[in-house]
């Protein structure tokens, strides 16, 4: 009997779920629990020295509280030095190119660059041309890989707990993503991540917010909320940007709520055990009724807690290998 080959992390960057193998995704998920333990220490120091003396730069071209804070905490709990750069305007507006800005940051010997950017592919073009480790903290509508990993981790942990099976996987788990898919980087990364891990993904939202040929990403699409929640193990509501209504993508919040809100009424059609998830920030009572967001099925705050652990795992794997 041969021993199973142990997966080793060899990539310089984490720029997307796209292209990662199941073994790599699971390596990240399997690395996270030890870091969840660090953050949860009741006594002593919530910190390990794995990134001591390293510099992690949080470079955010778009406003973000949750993701930026989560990365900053992850870096600090690994004992790294952190630096935040907020660029409120695009590089082209400022007159400095993205490459030039990164070259300047690198000239100060940064180790890891965590980039949030409004344009799809921004971390990809940087990763290909620069030495530092690039982590994609969201690029346009394209990907948000750390969110997808923390989502998958949260689902898997929950299933393992409920099934009392520490080896349980997401194979066959039915996940429904609800809302604005077109503009959602979370949706794209979640679809790719969940598919790679064996889950079955259904999308539900207004036709105006579902992009062309999305089915080819390996998902089922429905406009009917009842059908979407029926048999779902996980119900994942996406944030609806209120300006989409002004752009004419749906007629009114009232109608959106009537067709797509997760509330006690629509949940009647879902299985008892279905988990409620959301990437935050929530528009209370719009995509998610308050009673559902705060209800017993909701694991929204667990997602936030797990986010730090997943990001610690990723920073550790990128810098130290594994």
């Amino acid at each position: 009997m041969g021993e199973a080959t142990r997966t080793v992390w060899t990539r310089k960057d984490l720029i997307g779920i796209d292209g990662l193998g199941r073994d790599e995704l699971e390596l990240i998920l399997d690395t996270a629990p030890q870091f969840a333990g660090v953050s949860a220490r009741k006594s002593g120091i919530k910190r390990v020295p794995l990134l001591q003396g390293r510099l992690v730069v949080n470079w955010f071209h778009e406003p973000s509280t949750r993701t930026r804070t989560s990365f900053e905490l992850a870096a600090k709990r690994l004992s790294a030095d952190t630096l935040g750069i907020a660029a409120s305007t695009s590089s082209s507006v400022k007159g400095e190119t993205l490459h030039d800005t990164l070259s300047n940051i690198e000239a100060m010997h940064a180790d890891v660059i965590v980039l949030r950017h409004g344009c799809a592919g921004a971390p990809h073009i940087l990763a290909a041309a620069h030495e530092s480790h690039i982590v994609n903290a969201g690029d346009g509508r394209h990907e948000h890989p750390t969110q997808a990993l923390l989502d998958a981790f949260t689902m898997r942990e929950h299933i393992r707990r409920v099934r009392e099976d520490p080896e349980a996987t997401l194979d066959g788990v039915k996940v429904t993503l609800l809302g604005d898919i077109t503009h959602s980087r979370v949706a794209r990364s979640d679809i790719m991540c969940l598919n790679a891990l064996g889950a079955e993904v259904t999308l539900c939202g207004p036709a105006t917010l579902l992009p062309m040929e999305i089915e080819r990403m390996g998902v089922r699409v429905t406009y009917d909320l009842r059908e979407a929640v029926h048999e779902a193990d996980v119900l994942y509501a996406l944030r609806i940007q209120l300006e989409r209504q002004k752009a004419g993508l749906f007629p009114s919040l009232r109608e959106y709520i009537r067709l797509f809100r997760l509330d006690n009424e629509s949940l009647k059609h879902a299985p008892e055990h279905a988990l409620i998830m959301h990437p935050g920030p929530i528009n209370r009572d719009i995509e998610l009724a308050a009673e559902v967001a705060d209800g017993p099925r909701s694991v929204i705050l667990e997602q936030v807690t797990n986010g730090v652990a997943i990001r610690m795992a990723i920073l550790h794997l990128l810098v130290n290998g594994g």
Binding site: S90, S92, T97, C119, G121, I125, H142, R188, M212, E213
Partner: protein, 423 residues
């Protein structure tokens, strides 16, 4: 002193010539075409095709206004390297080529600095603002060969009607960039699976097709000659084909990237795969080739659109639309159209010479005949080479073909009897 091009295979579409022939040049004129000719200086064209200088009726030379992208001089050198001896630059410079003075400026700069023939197009509306018609009669008098607001469509169908009625009266073709602005707004690549996967806002094919259809219908209404630029979709090609069957005065072009590439080239976020209209899907690429094969396409044109490295080395969504094409066009035609057997070498030469010359009524271009100008391209259709954008003569490097190994290499280009490029 005379020059003799010997041992080459002459292809001359207007006379239906495709056989070994010598060409005797005296000064700027072709003196004789025939077998076993003699002259003072011998140019050996063994293994090569000798044909009329190529014609490209869709280029952007950026002068005046954007001289760091390209100038009339540098664009001319790039054209010569690609085998082109006559080009039609578009009017979207800064300021716009929308009055006789601007046409004369381009003509003067061409005379003073360009090694090939530059026959400018003028804008169809003042400042390309889509509001008032330009002084087309005077523009024609000073040498404009077409009117176009290329880069933009004319949104108002009522104004377009007047533009076409007037252009017909003056006798200038209207070169139509077909794009429904509202439908295309905010898009950066073809709308389809690849755009969905990459999260890049898309431009639907319908944005182009709706306006191909509208522009042709107004051509029919007015009797004007409308030339559809850069057709990229299967349905767009079908619309042009049907219009031609109906006898409407419409011609069309397509460009190398549309028969060579699909929107898959955007994966990796390469801004050199970003142009407008965008790269489409495989079924469209095949339909473009079909249109070239069946004669729906009247000419091949590059839409040579130079942008600096600084402008292109940015986020995909911030990058300007456009790719250079003059220095790779012939190779793409040989590699993508002739070698796979879609069209003959003779037909390729016709599409790259006479096709465009006829559309813009460029009387002496696209022909090689005794007594005519010695605008001649000599190329080796079998020679293999690798595209190296770093060696382009264009000021810009934004080619989607960089690094590609292709066949078909220009050996020498003569314009008015003078060697303007030698490889």
């Amino acid at each position: 002193m005379s020059l003799i091009i010997k041992n080459g295979h002459l292809i001359e579409p207007t006379q239906g010539i495709s056989e070994p022939m010598d060409v005797l040049i005296d000064g700027d004129t072709v003196r004789r075409v025939g077998k076993d000719l003699d002259g003072d200086e011998v140019m050996d064209a063994s293994g090569c095709v000798v044909c009329p200088g190529l014609v490209d009726i869709h280029v952007h030379f950026r002068e005046p206004g954007y001289e760091s992208k390209e100038t009339i001089a540098s664009g001319g050198r790039a054209a010569a390297r690609g085998g082109f001896t006559t080009v039609v630059p578009m009017a979207n410079t800064n300021p716009v080529i929308d009055n006789a003075g601007m046409v004369e400026f381009v003509n003067r700069r061409a005379r003073e600095t360009a090694c090939i023939r530059v026959r400018p197009a003028a804008s169809a509306t003042k400042g390309m603002k889509g509001a008032e018609i330009t002084e087309m009669a005077e523009l024609k008098d000073v040498g404009a060969v077409a009117v176009t607001d290329d880069g933009k469509d004319i949104a108002s169908s009522a104004l377009l009607r007047r533009v076409l009625e007037y252009a017909r009266m003056v006798g200038l073709p209207y070169l139509a960039h077909c794009e429904d602005e509202a439908l295309a707004e905010g898009g950066h690549m073809n709308e389809g699976y690849t755009a969905t996967h990459l999260g890049i806002p898309g431009i639907p094919k319908a944005a182009e097709e709706i306006r191909i259809d509208r522009n042709i219908r107004i051509a029919e209404l007015t009797g004007a000659h409308v030339h559809i630029q850069h057709v990229t979709t299967k349905e767009g090609m079908a619309i042009v084909r049907r219009a031609k069957e109906k006898g409407i005065r419409v011609t069309c072009e397509t460009g190398p990237h549309y028969w060579m590439l699909t929107d898959d080239a955007v994966r990796g976020f390469s801004t050199n795969a970003k142009m407008n209209p965008p790269l489409r899907e495989e079924e469209d690429r095949l339909a473009i080739i079909e249109g070239i094969k069946d004669g729906t396409v009247d000419c091949l044109a590059t839409d040579h659109a130079p942008h600096t490295r600084t402008e292109k080395e940015v986020e995909f969504e911030y990058a300007p639309f456009g790719v250079v094409g003059l220095e790779t066009c012939l190779a793409m035609a040989v590699t993508g159209l002739v070698e796979p057997g879609h069209i003959s070498l003779e037909r390729m030469v016709e599409l790259l010479t006479l096709g465009g010359a006829r559309i813009c009524n460029l009387e002496d271009a696209g022909v090689l005949r005794e007594g005519g100008p010695a605008d001649i391209t000599i190329f080796d259709p079998k020679a293999e080479w690798t595209v190296d954008a770093g060696r382009f003569l264009s000021l810009s490097r934004n080619s989607p073909f960089d690094g590609m190994t292709v066949r078909g290499l220009v050996k020498r280009t003569l314009c008015a009897g003078r060697t303007v490029y030698e490889g």
